[in-house]
């Protein structure tokens, strides 16, 4: 898969503090890339470097195999975590100004602005000042300002904060639509549920280091621990006996008359097929599935392991 962005051995220091340590990963083109990490991990600094707001002290960034330069800023749209717009400026003036700063002509800027305002059904806000809008309304304007110049790379830092569930879903759909248009989206967040929902690739950063990176599905599969969840009609004793030595019962839950949910772990390499074969004689299987860890569980476990490793060092 072709990379839209390549980050090569990037280091950044604030005075003597080493903020980013040998950061290296690629962001695949046309995918949604989740950049995850706890507060103070270095995410914002890395995003600022990608936006050329600050410079890396060491290392390079490539955009489509070219060294990233200020000329590429037109290809990038950035929604920072700390939102901001000119409070006393009208929505229309603001969007046109920001679009033109990104290199659009006035006509193009007007055309794109009208497209987005119509899309979000907020054309009547044009002459309102940001001061007079609610936080959620201003967030929408900010989102439009990020994508108005049709950038190839869209960097979104906590894009859903401040939105109600309806607007969160609206923005989520827009992000997925932009992905379908082959835009590359870099998505930084603490909201792990949304990562599970929309991200294709992730990187987890902690204390300035990348501790995990790759395709989300692959990571999840790798982190799976051969744990299965099975719901059946029958009795628990015969089910336990049927597991034999290949599986161990971890938990069980009574779901109603003669209905049980059990969690079992493979003791060796035995997989879901073996489980079904072993228990099908002792009970009536309703459902069975491998328990894949959520991104939240992976994130917490990775951070914990990394911190413990750092403490030992």
């Amino acid at each position: 898969m072709k990379s839209a962005i390549k980050i090569n051995q990037v280091n950044k220091y604030f005075d003597t503090f080493h903020v980013l340590k040998n950061i290296q990963f690629n962001i695949p083109k046309g995918q949604i890339f989740g950049l995850l990490g706890p507060n103070g991990a270095g995410k914002t600094t890395l995003l600022r470097i990608l936006n050329q707001i600050t410079k890396a002290d060491e290392g390079t960034i490539e955009y489509n195999d070219e060294i990233l330069t200020p000329q590429h800023s037109i290809k990038i749209g950035y929604l920072p975590e700390e939102r901001g717009l000119y409070k006393k400026m009208k929505v229309e003036e603001q969007l046109l100004y920001l679009a033109q700063l990104k290199g659009l002509s006035l006509t193009e800027a007007k055309e794109n602005m009208n497209f987005w305002l119509d899309k979000f059904e907020i054309s009547n806000w044009k002459n309102k000042t940001i001061n007079s809008l609610s936080k959620g309304m201003a967030q929408k304007i900010q989102f439009i300002a990020t994508v108005i110049h049709q950038p190839e790379i869209i960097i979104l830092d906590e894009p859903f904060s401040g939105f109600d569930p309806i607007n969160t879903n609206l923005i989520k759909q827009e992000i997925l639509r932009l992905k379908n248009e082959k835009k590359t989206i870099i998505y930084s967040t603490h909201n792990m549920d949304s990562v599970d929902e929309i991200c294709d690739h992730i990187a987890i950063i902690n204390k300035g280091e990348i501790i995990l990176k790759g395709k989300l599905q692959t990571i999840k599969e790798k982190k799976a621990e051969n744990i299965f969840e099975i719901v059946f009609n029958g009795n628990m004793i015969s089910f336990s006996n049927a597991l034999w030595t290949a599986f161990t019962l971890i938990t069980s839950e009574d779901l109603g008359p003669n209905k049980i949910k059990a969690t079992v772990k493979s003791t060796g390499e035995a997989h879901i097929n073996e489980l079904i074969i072993q228990v099908m004689q002792s009970c009536k299987i309703i459902s069975v599935q491998e328990k894949i860890p959520s991104i939240n569980e992976i994130f917490l476990s990775e951070i914990k392991n990394h911190l413990s490793k750092l403490n030992h060092e």
């Binding site: 005075d15 707001i53 800023s73 920072p80 000119y86 400026m89 100004y97 700063l101």
Partner: protein, 448 residues
């Protein structure tokens, strides 16, 4: 349009569209015109306020008083010969602007001289004090010279003849130099401060509203800084040009109508004294009536000699001074976390320009002193002090001082903008810190 052009356009138009800008443009000319015309109105009122009708039993003091041009709101006239004191009291008792003054015959000889004043409404303290001091002066002279009425009239005429001064070979009228020096320095000081602070507030606003991250992901911070400073500077120039033009237009309109009224009132007031001596009054009328009109016309004619300084050198000094101080304000605004913090801590930046205004006030006393000279060369004070010195300089011989001043100012402005841009680049993204001077120096080094 280039990015810097876009920024200039935004900074410029958002400000000139503000109601406050329009209000200042419309009201400032009126205010300035009124402040110029106020002295004329005050003068006018001086001539139409109070008539002092004298009943003189000494037969000498009243005549002298009537000849006296007090230069205040008092007009002395001798009572008509056929008018008795009682009748006058009865007749003028209800007229607020007429005071009846009786000077008893023993006034000169008496060791405790007393006069009587009749007026239904008690005359103002200032009027009473003025009458007392005028009488005191005359009485003292009469005692000292022990002279008779005829001799004294001639003596007074000689003694009170005003001293005329003809100024030759000095170009601009000396009093005009004084006005231009003070007003020029003050206007420059105001413009630099007002628009410098606007730069600080603009940067503070962008930093606090957090839009700065979006803007500098599109343009280089130096471009943003340049656009902001130039945009706001253009607002200053626009406002100055509008206010200057409208002031001249308003002044001309009001002055023309006022001129006729003032002359008429003056002339009528002077005619009232006709009851005492026509020859002298007419001469006074000729001298006094058009005096303000002549002075202002004279100023306007001499003002033309000053056009190169007003139209070329002063704007250059404004641009240099504004850019120099605006860059300091910009660096400061980017470092501070909130507008209130910035405003309370801008004192160190404003100190040099405040001091330069004090120096400018002293320039009118001694425009060529060492302090005046060096302050007009030193870049932090030169915009204001050189503007104050300009009317006193001869372009043909003193041009090198102006060139030196502007060159050093340009050099300093260039350096300060470079310095400010480097502080700004880092400072604008730092929140929640009140950086020390050491930290700021680090930012400067880091942003190479």
């Amino acid at each position: 349009m280039s990015k810097v052009g876009l920024i200039i356009k935004r900074e410029y138009f958002t400000r000139i569209k503000k109601r406050s800008f329009v209000l200042v443009c419309l009201l400032a000319p009126l205010f300035l015109t009124l402040s110029i015309l106020a002295p004329i109105w005050i003068n006018k009122s001086n001539y139409e306020e109070t008539i002092v009708m004298i009943f003189d039993e000494t037969t000498i003091i009243g005549d002298i008083l009537a000849l006296k041009k007090s230069g205040t709101n008092l007009k002395y006239i001798s009572a008509p010969e056929n008018l008795k004191l009682d009748e006058a009291i009865e007749k003028y008792d209800n007229i607020a602007d007429t005071i009846i003054l009786r000077i008893p015959d023993n006034f000169i000889k008496n060791t405790a001289p007393l006069v009587e004043v009749f007026n239904k409404n008690a005359p103002g303290l200032y009027s009473i004090n003025k009458i007392k001091s005028d009488l005191y002066d005359i009485r003292k002279k009469l005692i000292v010279y022990s002279t008779i009425k005829f001799d004294l009239e001639q003596f007074e005429r000689r003694m009170n003849s005003p001293v005329g001064v003809v100024f030759q070979g000095q170009g601009i009228h000396p009093q005009l130099k004084f006005y231009l020096s003070l007003s020029g320095a003050f206007v420059l000081y105001l413009l630099i401060m007002i628009y410098g602070v606007q730069v600080l507030r603009g940067i503070s606003e962008e930093k606090n509203s957090r839009i700065i991250e979006i803007i500098i992901s599109s343009v280089h911070p130096s471009t943003l800084l340049k656009g902001k400073i130039i945009g706001i500077g253009l607002v200053g120039i626009t406002q100055f040009v509008i206010v200057f033009s409208l002031t001249i237009a308003t002044f001309s309109t009001i002055y023309k109508s006022l001129d006729i009224q003032t002359s008429d009132i003056l002339y009528n007031n002077l005619l009232m004294i006709n009851e005492k001596g026509e020859q002298v009054i007419e001469e006074q009328a000729k001298i006094n009536t058009p005096i303000m009109h002549q002075t202002i016309q004279e100023y306007l004619i001499h003002l033309q000699d000053y056009i190169p300084e007003i139209l070329i050198i002063t704007p250059i000094l404004f641009i240099g001074g504004y850019l120099l101080y605006a860059s300091f304000f910009a660096a400061f605004g980017s470092v501070m976390d909130s507008e209130s913090d910035s405003q309370s801590l801008i004192f160190p930046i404003t100190l040099p320009i405040v001091i330069s205004l004090f120096i400018a006030y002293n320039v009118i006393n001694n425009p060529n002193s060492a302090l005046s000279f060096w302050a007009s060369i030193f870049p932090l004070s030169s915009p204001v002090v050189m503007t104050a010195r300009l009317p006193f300089l001869e372009l043909q011989t003193d041009w090198w001082q102006i060139v030196l001043s502007i060159s050093l100012l340009a050099l300093s402005t260039w350096a300060s903008i470079k310095f400010a841009a480097r502080i700004y680049r880092t400072g604008i993204l730092i929140y929640g810190q009140k950086p020390s001077l050491k930290t700021i120096c680090k930012w400067y080094k880091q942003s190479k």
